[in-house]
C-alpha cells in the first residue's frame, strides 16, 4: 500500500490489541446513514512513474516563455543553493516550532530573517512572515485600526497606484470589520499619487494612509511628503514596498520626518520562484511600540536552563491559539519554508548583491523601454523615475497583441485595460536582471513584426 507500512500481520496484531474485528469496525460511531460508498469519480491511483510522466507532459505543454511580466511577481535569479537547502527534510517536513528545543534550526532561521527584514525596511521589528504581500496589506490595515487608539474612523486612504489586487484583497479580508477605504487618484501625467487629492482630508480623522513605492506602475511616489502629511493628520503611514528596491531606495523607516509606521510587502523577490503565484510570503515590520498589535509569529532570543542562548516563539498571547476570539488575527501558520529561502537568499546576496540586482533591473527596464518605444505605435506613458516596471501605450488593443506575443512564446506584460480603463491601451512591462540584451532585442523584434 503506497505510503502505508502495515503488513497483514501488523494489522491483525493491532486489531487484536484494540479488540476490534476489522478496520471497518473502528468507524462504528459514524451513523450508518452517513457512510458513503467509495467515490467512483475519483481516478485510480498512479505510480510515481506514471504521475512523473504526466507532470512532465503538463509542464512541457506550458513551456518556458520569455517573460516580461511583473505586476507583483518578479523573475529573479535564485541561487541553486537556496532550494537545495530549503528542500532538506529537516526544514521541509518540520512544523511550527512548538517544541522549541527540537526546532532550534527553524527558530534561528526565523530570527535571522526577522533581523534582515528589520534592517532592510529600516524598522525595529519584523514578524516571521504572513501569507503574501496582498494579505499582509490587509493585516496592516487591521493592525493600524487596533494600534491607532486615538482614531475612531477606521478610514484608510489608499492611492489608486497601489496594486489593484492588493486593494481588492484588503477589502475582502477586512469586509467583516468597519474599515472604510478611500481610493485616491493618480496624476494623469505623473502616474503617482496626486498630492492635491489629500487636501480634502485635512483635519479629518484618518486612521492610516497607504503608499506603495515603487507604485504599481513602477514609479516612485513622493513618500517623504505623504508620510509627513499622514503624520501631520495624526494618521499612521503604511508602506507597501518591494524588498529588492530597498537595497537602493531609502527605507520606509526613514521616510519623511518620522518614518513609516507599518511596512509590508511581497517577499517573493527574495528567493521564491514565480511558481504560478505561490507559495510566496508577506513580510511586515513596524516600530517596537506596536509589536503587541502585530499579527503573525514572532521569534525571540532567550536563554535556556543552563544560561545558553536559544530561540523560541514569543508574545504568543497575541495569537489565536491562546487568545482565541481576541487574537490580533486568525493567522496561524506563517510561510516558514519561504522565509527560510529568503534568509538563505539574502545571505548569499548580501548588500552588494541586492544592490546589483536592483540596479540591473532598473537598467534592463530602461533598455526595454528604449527598445520598445522605438517601434511605431508604442510610447512611454509616464516619464518619471522608476524601478523595474513601466507603462507603455500601444496604438491598438493590448489583449490581441499579447495573444499574438504568446503564440511566439513571449509573455509580453500585463494588459491594464481592466484595472485602469482610463489609461486606454496600456501595457505594463518589466525586465529584471534575468533579461539579457538579446531577450530585449527579441521582444522588440517580435513586437515590431506584430504591430506592422
Amino acid at each position: 500500500m503506497p505510503f502505508i507500512p502495515h503488513t497483514p500481520s501488523d494489522v491483525s496484531e493491532m486489531l487484536a490489541a484494540i479488540g476490534a474485528p476489522d478496520i471497518d469496525a473502528l468507524f462504528d460511531e459514524i451513523p450508518a446513514a452517513l457512510r458513503t460508498p467509495p467515490p467512483e469519480n475519483l481516478p485510480q491511483g498512479l505510480t510515481e512513474m506514471q504521475i512523473t510522466r504526466l507532470m512532465h507532459a503538463r509542464a512541457q505543454l506550458d513551456g518556458q516563455p520569455l517573460n516580461f511580466l511583473g505586476a507583483g511577481a518578479y523573475e529573479h535569479h535564485i541561487p541553486a543553493a537556496v532550494w537545495a537547502i530549503v528542500s532538506r527534510g529537516e526544514f521541509y517536513s518540520a512544523y511550527t516550532p512548538y517544541q522549541a528545543e527540537a526546532s532550534q534550526g527553524t527558530l534561528q532561521v526565523l530570527y535571522e530573517f526577522q533581523t534582515m527584514m528589520a534592517n532592510l525596511t529600516g524598522m525595529q521589528v519584523s514578524n516571521a512572515s504572513l501569507y503574501d504581500g496582498a494579505s499582509a496589506l490587509a493585516e496592516a490595515c487591521l493592525m493600524a485600526v487596533r494600534a491607532h487608539r486615538q482614531s475612531r474612523s477606521a478610514r484608510i486612504l489608499v492611492p489608486a497606484t497601489v496594486h489593484p489586487d492588493y486593494r481588492h484583497v484588503a477589502r475582502a479580508i477586512t469586509t467583516g470589520q468597519s474599515l472604510k477605504f478611500d481610493v485616491l487618484p493618480y496624476g494623469e501625467e505623473a502616474g503617482t499619487l496626486d498630492l492635491s487629492s489629500l487636501e480634502r482630508y485635512s483635519g479629518q480623522d484618518i486612521t492610516a494612509v497607504v503608499v506603495q513605492h515603487p507604485n504599481f506602475f513602477g514609479l516612485l511616489e513622493d513618500v517623504d511628503a505623504i508620510t509627513d502629511w499622514a503624520h501631520a493628520q495624526g494618521a499612521m503611514l503604511i508602506a507597501v514596498v518591494n524588498p529588492v528596491s530597498l537595497a537602493i531606495f531609502k527605507p520606509p523607516g526613514e521616510w519623511g520626518e518620522k518614518g513609516a509606521d507599518i511596512v509590508v510587502g511581497e517577499g517573493q523577490p527574495l528567493g521564491a520562484p514565480l511558481a504560478s503565484g505561490g507559495p510566496y510570503f508577506g513580510f511586515m515590520t513596524t516600530r517596537m511600540e506596536y509589536v503587541r498589535q502585530m499579527p503573525g509569529r514572532l521569534i525571540g532570543r532567550t536563554l535556556d536552563l543552563d544560561g545558553k542562548p536559544g530561540f523560541s516563539l514569543t508574545l504568543q498571547a497575541r495569537e489565536q491559539h491562546i487568545r482565541r476570539s481576541k487574537a490580533t488575527s486568525n493567522i496561524c501558520t506563517n510561510q516558514g519554508l519561504l522565509v527560510t529561502a529568503a534568509a538563505i537568499h539574502l545571505s548569499l546576496l548580501g548588500a552588494t548583491g541586492l544592490e546589483s540586482v536592483a540596479a540591473a533591473c532598473q537598467a534592463n527596464t530602461s533598455a526595454l523601454v528604449e527598445a520598445l518605444t522605438g517601434i511605431d505605435g508604442v510610447r512611454l506613458r509616464f516619464a518619471g523615475p522608476r524601478f523595474h516596471e513601466a507603462v507603455l501605450q500601444l496604438d491598438r488593443q493590448v489583449d490581441g497583441v499579447l495573444q499574438e506575443l504568446a503564440r511566439r512564446n513571449i509573455a509580453g506584460g500585463l494588459d491594464l485595460s481592466r484595472h485602469f480603463p482610463g489609461l486606454g491601451n496600456a501595457l505594463l512591462v518589466c525586465a529584471t536582471e534575468t533579461r539579457t540584451p538579446e531577450d530585449i532585442r527579441t521582444y522588440a523584434h517580435v513586437l515590431a513584426e506584430i504591430l506592422t
Binding site: D24, I30, P31, L42, L120, H321, N330, T333
Partner: protein, 494 residues
C-alpha cells in the same frame, strides 16, 4: 550543536558574487536614495551553505523523527510531490501568464478542484485560500455574504464548541461576528441541549470539526445540522481532521454547507517549519455564488481544435459578481496545490480511503497500548478517530510531573512531542496523532518510551522535569523571551 548567527560570519567585502550581476550604478534621484547601506550578512557561498545546513540538523522533522503532533497530521510528504511541483516549467510560470501558455498548469488545478469536490461531497471548490485560517475566513465570509444577499442581516452570531481550534473564534471575530461558545459533554460529543439554547434568528452559523478536536466523531451531527439549518443558520466544517474520514463519510453528506481543507494535513503537502499551507474551500449549492476567486473552469473544445479536448480558463469577479473577492494577489499557494494534486493522483480512489483506515487503526492501537500501560484516556468509552487524548493529571498530582515534562522528556527519547495542553478543556493533556504512515514498530517504540518516562517519573521526578538533556538547548526561558524582547540581532555598537 551550537551554531552562531549568520551575522557573526559576516565581514565587510565578503560575498558570493557568482550570485549577482556585476555592480552598475543605480539611477536613483537624491531624495529617494538609500543613505546607509543595508546591513545584511556578507558571507561566502560556502559559509551560507554550511550555516544553514547545520541549522537544519538542529530540527526534528518527519523525515528524521516520529512526529505525533496532534491535530497537525504529520505524515510522510512524498518526495515525488516536491520534485514534480519543482519542474523548471512549473517554477518558471508567471502567475499572470497568458492562459494559452498555462493549459498544463490549469488542467492540474481543475482536476484538483474536481477531486476535492468528490472526496468532500461539495458542489464547488476554490483553491485560493493560502492556509487553513484563510480558508476558515473564506468560509465564514461566505456565510455572512449569503445571509446578507438574502437581506437576512441580523445573523451575526457564530457558534463554536469550547474545544475548537483557536482559529475558529478568531476567524469569526475577524469576520465581524459574535462568538457563542457551546460546551462539550463528558463523552466528547457536543451538548445538544446547550446548542438548542443558543441557536436562533441571530445564528449565522456553526463551526465544527468532525471528528472533533477531542479526537472523537460527533455522533449527533445530523441532529446538529437539522437544528442549525432549521434555525436558518449554516454549517461550517473545519477540515483539520479530514484525514480521519477520507472515503468513509463526506462533510457534504453530513449536512455541511462549507468546508475548508488543510491540504498540508490531509493531502500531505509539507508543513515547512510552519507553512506554507493551503486552505482550499468547498461549498454546497447555496454558497456557490460567493466563492473566492479565481478558480478554474473547463470548457469543451470544438473538435479539430488541436489535439486537446478541453480548454481551461480562470473564473474571476466578472464571472462571479457576488464573490467574497480575492484572498491573495494571485491565486494562492499554487506550488502547494500542485503537491496536493500529485499526492491525490498517486493515492487515487483506494489509496485515499486507506488513509482514513490506517490513520484510525494507528490511533486506536496506540490508544489501546497506552491504556493497557496505565495511561488515562480522556474519553475512555470512545473510539479514537485518527488522534486521541491522554491526560497526565494523575501524574501531575501524584508525582509533580506534568504533560509538558513528559513531552520534553520524549524529545530525549528521539520522538517529537504530541500536542500539549490542547484542547484546553482537558487538563494536562497530550493530543496524539500518529498518522497512517507510521509503522507498528514505531508506535510500539513510542509506547515503550512513555512507559520508561513514567518509570523515571516515579523514581526521579526531577530528572524528567529537567528534560530535555540531549538537544541543542535545554528548556528555554519563555518568560524572559517575552519580557526582555530580543527580536532582531543588533551588532554591538563600537
Amino acid at each position: 550543536m551550537h551554531e552562531p548567527l549568520i551575522f557573526t560570519y559576516s565581514r565587510p567585502g565578503r560575498g558570493a558574487p557568482a550570485q549577482y550581476p556585476p555592480p552598475v550604478p543605480p539611477e536613483v534621484p537624491e531624495k529617494f536614495r538609500r543613505r546607509r547601506r543595508v546591513v545584511l550578512p556578507e558571507v561566502s557561498e560556502l559559509q551560507a551553505v554550511r550555516h544553514f545546513t547545520r541549522l537544519s540538523q538542529l530540527n526534528f522533522s518527519i523525515d528524521t523523527h516520529f512526529y505525533p503532533l496532534g491535530s497537525c497530521t504529520m505524515k510522510y510528504n512524498p518526495r515525488a510531490c516536491n520534485e514534480l511541483a519543482m519542474l523548471p516549467q512549473m517554477l518558471g510560470r508567471h502567475p499572470l501568464a497568458p492562459e494559452s501558455l498555462s493549459q498544463g498548469f490549469l488542467a492540474c488545478m481543475h482536476e484538483l478542484q474536481e477531486m476535492l469536490k468528490e472526496v468532500t461531497g461539495m458542489q464547488g471548490v476554490s483553491l485560493t485560500p493560502m492556509a487553513g485560517a484563510q480558508g476558515e475566513f473564506a468560509g465564514v465570509a461566505m456565510i455572512r455574504a449569503y445571509h446578507q444577499a438574502r437581506g437576512d442581516t441580523a445573523r451575526e452570531e457564530i457558534i463554536v464548541p469550547d474545544a475548537a481550534h483557536g482559529t475558529n473564534p478568531a476567524t469569526a471575530t475577524m469576520c465581524g461576528c459574535k462568538v457563542i461558545e457551546v460546551r462539550t459533554l463528558e463523552n466528547g460529543d457536543i451538548d445538544i441541549e446547550a446548542l438548542k439554547q443558543v441557536v436562533g434568528p441571530k445564528t449565522a452559523g456553526i463551526m465544527l470539526t468532525n471528528p472533533s478536536t477531542v479526537g472523537v466523531f460527533e455522533r449527533r451531527i445530523q441532529e446538529v445540522a437539522s437544528l442549525v439549518h432549521g434555525a436558518g443558520g449554516l454549517l461550517y466544517y473545519d477540515g483539520a481532521n479530514l484525514n480521519a474520514i477520507l472515503g468513509k463519510v463526506r462533510p457534504g453528506d453530513m449536512g455541511f454547507d462549507v468546508i475548508h481543507m488543510n491540504l498540508h494535513k490531509t493531502f500531505s503537502t509539507p508543513h515547512g517549519g510552519g507553512g506554507p499551507g493551503s486552505g482550499a474551500v468547498g461549498v454546497g449549492r447555496r454558497l456557490l455564488p460567493f466563492m473566492p476567486v479565481p478558480f478554474v473552469e473547463r470548457e469543451e473544445v470544438s473538435a479539430g481544435h488541436a489535439q486537446l479536448r478541453y480548454r481551461y480558463r480562470w473564473m474571476d469577479e466578472r464571472d462571479l459578481p457576488q464573490t467574497i473577492g480575492r484572498l491573495s494577489a494571485f491565486m494562492g499557494n499554487a506550488g502547494v496545490l500542485l503537491r496536493a494534486y500529485v499526492y491525490m493522483r498517486m493515492l487515487g480512489r483506494a489509496g485515499l480511503e486507506r488513509v482514513a483506515e490506517y490513520a484510525t487503526l494507528n490511533a486506536n492501537y496506540l490508544l489501546a497500548r497506552l491504556q493497557q500501560a496505565g495511561f488515562e484516556p480522556a474519553y475512555p468509552q470512545r473510539r479514537a478517530s485518527h488522534e486521541f487524548i491522554i491526560t497526565m493529571k494523575r501524574q501531575a498530582r501524584e508525582l509533580g510531573v506534568n504533560a509538558m515534562d513528559f513531552a520534553k522528556r520524549l524529545l530525549d527519547y528521539g520522538f517529537h512531542a504530541p500536542t500539549t495542553y490542547f484542547p484546553l478543556l482537558v487538563p494536562e493533556c497530550l493530543l496524539i496523532e500518529p498518522t497512517e504512515t507510521e509503522s507498528k514498530q514505531e508506535l510500539d517504540a513510542f509506547v515503550d518510551a512513555l512507559i520508561a518516562i513514567q518509570r523515571e517519573a516515579q523514581q526521579d521526578a526531577a530528572k524528567v522535569k529537567g528534560a530535555p538533556y540531549t538537544l541543542p538547548v535545554r528548556r528555554l526561558d519563555d518568560v524572559r523571551a517575552a519580557k526582555q524582547l530580543d527580536l532582531a540581532y543588533r551588532e554591538d555598537p563600537g
